[in-house]
Symmetry: C2
Subunit: 583 residues, 2 copies
């Protein structure tokens, strides 16, 4: 284990506090400081800069057992006994992702308790678990996007050991682990980075706070701070890939964009280790550059979330048309997203008041992640409503079929598979009363502006808002949850069995629809997904004479058409071509 | 002539004041307003928004005869009688550019008076004149980068008619005209745009003020405002190309960058008209994406200024090593820039405190503009010193030879060709006393921080600072100016006569140098430029047995070497290959 070092380029003096002792650190080149004497593994420590009285945690602290303001604790990564020696992650292009929030996935809200639910995920057919951010954030619970100790798994989740045990357990069940990392800003509480160095810039502004300094003076080490963080998760925690939060707020004018550097470094690690590693971006840019290979002038990110597909699908099912949904309407947009990934690929967006996006020519569907909901789509609604709160079972089944038979990599949000009745609210636990009040009032004001009665908006700081958001694991065994779970299981099986359903070639996706009659048929090679979104039964044309593979309600196939009951979906195979299904 | 329209999306009411009358404008779609009654050509007019008392000039005002705060005046572009019907600009790749500031180029400081000096430029061999910004800015004189009425040629320069006469006269002499346009910010005085619409954003910050809103709500019309401005200069003023100021401060996260949109629209105009139009960027990014074609993922700008070449050349000649010059040293950097355009192409820059740039693989040298000085390199020195103030005649001759025989498109700054003894100071004429004081004190503080005595720093607001910056046209006829002018004329002739000197293939540029002995030889096909930067005579190896084409001092060629006097340069042709010179 090497000694402790810290980057503090502006400090005139740095002391380390550990074991009741305070000692001077030695100044190295480039603004780095080094502890001269060995410090035991598992020791707690903190830094004192210049003449400051308050000891500060290590910006690269591997563990904050007492929270964001407490001392840091050393972690000996070499000491963990991994049992995943033979592990290789499944290819991302055939993934089924399950987004999971450790704090609410189980009643206990820990990595260890989550391990006990992996059997559920295995039997569902999940290939990749995607953890919402785990780095230490202010309080004992929260979504995690306001993390401040980016190297330290949250103390309340079980810290470094808990995360390692979780990843190891996932791997032993054949499940890969993706981790959501936030590189666009740091949280407001417990953020001491600017005391150490020029981590932030005033040149750009994010909606959540100061932007990271990725292209100004001193940015070299800020970029290293983030790239090293990514590499650490992949290397020391055996994480199989990262989901990069809101990359549209990662501002960088450098000739080599931070994302490109990151992709390059992850690729190098991939080459060195022979492991399959993946980077997935959340992007609000609709810019194909994000997922274009570096050789072709892109950033080289493997895939990105496809919000347009979600919005089109959501509005097709619900008819909702407020907020960003007002940019989407009808089956035409849903059809376009299934065939072109982006609905907005260069034309005017009314909601945005500007032109948006660019055509992703030749980019495979498997470079996009498709979903019916995610943590944001639930949690950013006034009361944390999941799809199950505003769609009926039939609609949920249609939605699931379109996601799980889509040309995109499908993602489910925890509990979606059984239509969890619990909400997923926005919750925080800030100790600072001023910040706490600001969060509570900010949330109320946001929805008051949309016409809500503030009394109806759950208070993010109320512990009950968090507790109510935990999944109820009695539900999967009871109806109607049980049937919906079975439906998801069957769809996932189908996707795994039929290569055509995992085929990412968007140019091969056929879509026919009738906006007025409200039906839509998606053709994926020898398979078709026929949806009747209308309330009453109707006959829907098929691209071939079909054999029923799966149906949400009983319907009757008649030659090259099918009689589908109201609000139902049927997946059929080409009767002349069943061998092409390759089951 | 169509009616007057204005974009004022947030206004509830817009009135137009003209001919002593005030009348309501009609609201159109998309935030536009239209004057209902016809308004005569040449009429003065202004707008009144909502209940404001102060009439405001038109954001797209074509003429501000009374300055930035006065009413606008209509201009009938169709009325001008152009005489350049047969005009076609020479190819940019073989250009010799002359940067010119209308206010100081002649004693009168007008477009019309500049016409009288075109004979000088013709005889020098200039192919493109590049005008420093002409849009209306605060005061009667200034550099022009703080323009606020982007569609209006400055009243003191001679307004729209003056500019048209100037361009027409240039064309009649075979000289193309480039115009410097500032699309990264607007000036602080007379800037009423934010009263009309969301022209600016707080998401990004430029060093000079609010950034343009190119990717937020309402940005569609802001982008149109700037693109239409570019097209107007090219179309209505017959301008042959634009120099885009400081594109590193044009922030845009859209999937289609503003620069790409601009390049696309200019290309469309080029196709429609058959004219040769060009876009040249000033870029501090060292990012090849700027000059990479759109099809290859770039912004599609034709060329960009090459600051690295300037800095390397400047430090090689002067040994200066403060400020940004501290990143450059020795002939190695000069050699690298001659062969790779950028010196900083991905490695660490000490001055910037970060990694900088990217290799411009396969991009031709003719996509870069090379210079020994420009308005900034002179004007941003404490006392506006031109190269002639701190280099001796021999150094100026070497510098000129390296610029004019470089693989880049060479640019001269007005007066450089005869070593003007007048300075080019930073000057302003702000009427607002607070702004005036801020400018004066800001300039003083900037240089005081560098150790200057504030008494030595010319006051930008002092009229004498402006007046002293005007060229003295008696100088070209007197020594030593006359000889230097002749030297430039000869170099330009050589560049025009010998295709190899205009060849932009950087991979074909050979450079040999000895940093200790201070000599450098640049091989450009069958021609070599041999420079002795040392003070005493020395023998310098040539890549071939040479025939002297041009020499700044008398030297002796001996086989494949040449004896060069101290501080001199010789241009030689390959004796075995004189036919390859193609003179």
């Amino acid at each position: 284990m090497t000694g402790i070092r810290v980057w503090a380029p502006n400090a005139r003096r740095v002391r380390i506090l550990t074991g009741g002792q305070e000692s001077e650190m030695a100044k190295l080149d480039g603004g780095w400081w080094s502890a001269e004497t060995p410090i035991p593994a598992d020791a707690d420590y903190a830094f004192r800069l210049d003449d400051d009285r308050t000891p500060l945690p290590d910006p690269r602290s591997p563990w904050q057992p007492y929270g964001v303001d407490g001392p840091s604790r050393r972690v000996d990564h070499a000491a963990f006994r991994w049992s995943d020696g033979e592990w290789q992650a499944p290819p991302f292009s055939s993934a089924v992702i399950y987004e999971l929030h450790i704090g609410t996935f189980t009643p206990e809200g820990t990595f260890d308790s989550a391990i006990h639910r992996l059997a559920h995920l295995s039997s569902l057919g999940v290939t990749h678990v995607e953890l919402m951010p785990v780095p230490e954030f202010s309080g004992d619970w929260g979504w995690g996007y306001d993390g401040v100790d980016l190297y330290a798994p949250h103390h309340a989740y079980g810290g470094p050991l808990g995360l390692k045990r979780f990843v190891d357990a996932c791997h032993s069940r054949g499940i890969a682990v993706l981790l959501d990392v936030v590189y666009n800003h740091l949280g407001p509480a417990g953020n001491y980075l600017s005391r150490f160095g020029p981590y932030f810039t005033k040149k750009y502004l994010t909606p959540w706070g100061e932007a990271m300094n990725l292209d100004g003076a001193g940015s070299r080490q800020v970029r290293r701070f983030l790239c090293d963080n990514a590499l650490m998760w992949l290397r020391d925690y055996h994480i199989d890939g990262l989901r990069l939060d809101a990359i549209h707020a990662i501002y960088d004018s450098s000739a080599v964009h931070f994302l490109e550097q990151l992709a390059q470094e992850v690729e190098e690690l991939e080459t060195q280790t022979g492991r399959r590693l993946v980077l997935v971006a959340e992007s609000d840019l609709n810019d194909p550059r994000v997922v274009t290979p570096i050789e072709e002038g892109g950033y080289g990110i493997d895939a990105q979330w496809n919000d347009d597909f979600h919005h089109a699908l959501h509005t097709a099912l619900t008819g909702e048309c407020t907020g960003y949904y007002r940019d989407f309407a009808g089956l035409r947009d849903l059809a376009k997203s299934l065939q072109s990934a982006f609905v907005y690929d260069g034309h005017y967006s009314d909601f945005r008041g500007r032109h948006h996006g660019r055509k992703p020519h030749g980019i495979a569907g498997t470079r996009f992640v498709g979903f019916l909901q995610n943590h944001d789509q639930a949690g950013n609604r006034a009361r944390g409503e999941r799809t199950g709160h505003y769609m009926n079972l039939s609609q949920l089944q249609i939605g699931a079929a379109l996601v799980l038979c889509s040309p995109f990599v499908p993602l489910l949000f925890q509990g979606e598979e059984f239509g969890a009745s619990t909400p997923f609210c926005y919750f925080t636990q800030h100790a600072d009363p001023e910040l706490a009040r600001a969060v509570t009032e900010g949330r109320r004001a946001e929805f008051a502006a949309l016409g809500w009665n503030t009394g109806e908006i759950p208070d993010p700081q109320d512990p009950d808002t968090f507790l109510r958001s935990k999944l109820d694991w009695n539900e999967p065994a009871c109806e109607p949850h049980k049937s919906l779970l079975e439906w998801h299981r069957n769809l996932i099986s189908l996707r795994k069995e039929i290569p055509a359903l995992r085929d990412g070639r968007l140019e091969d996706v056929g879509v026919q629809f009738d906006d007025e009659k409200r039906w839509l048929v998606v053709k994926r090679g020898p398979v078709a997904i026929a949806c009747n979104l209308a309330e009453s039964k109707q006959s829907i044309p098929l691209p071939f004479e079909g054999v029923v593979l799966l149906a949400s309600k009983e319907g009757g196939s008649r030659g090259s058409a099918v009689d589908l009951p109201g609000e139902s979906v049927m997946i059929v195979a080409d009767a002349q071509n069943t061998e092409r299904i390759n089951r």
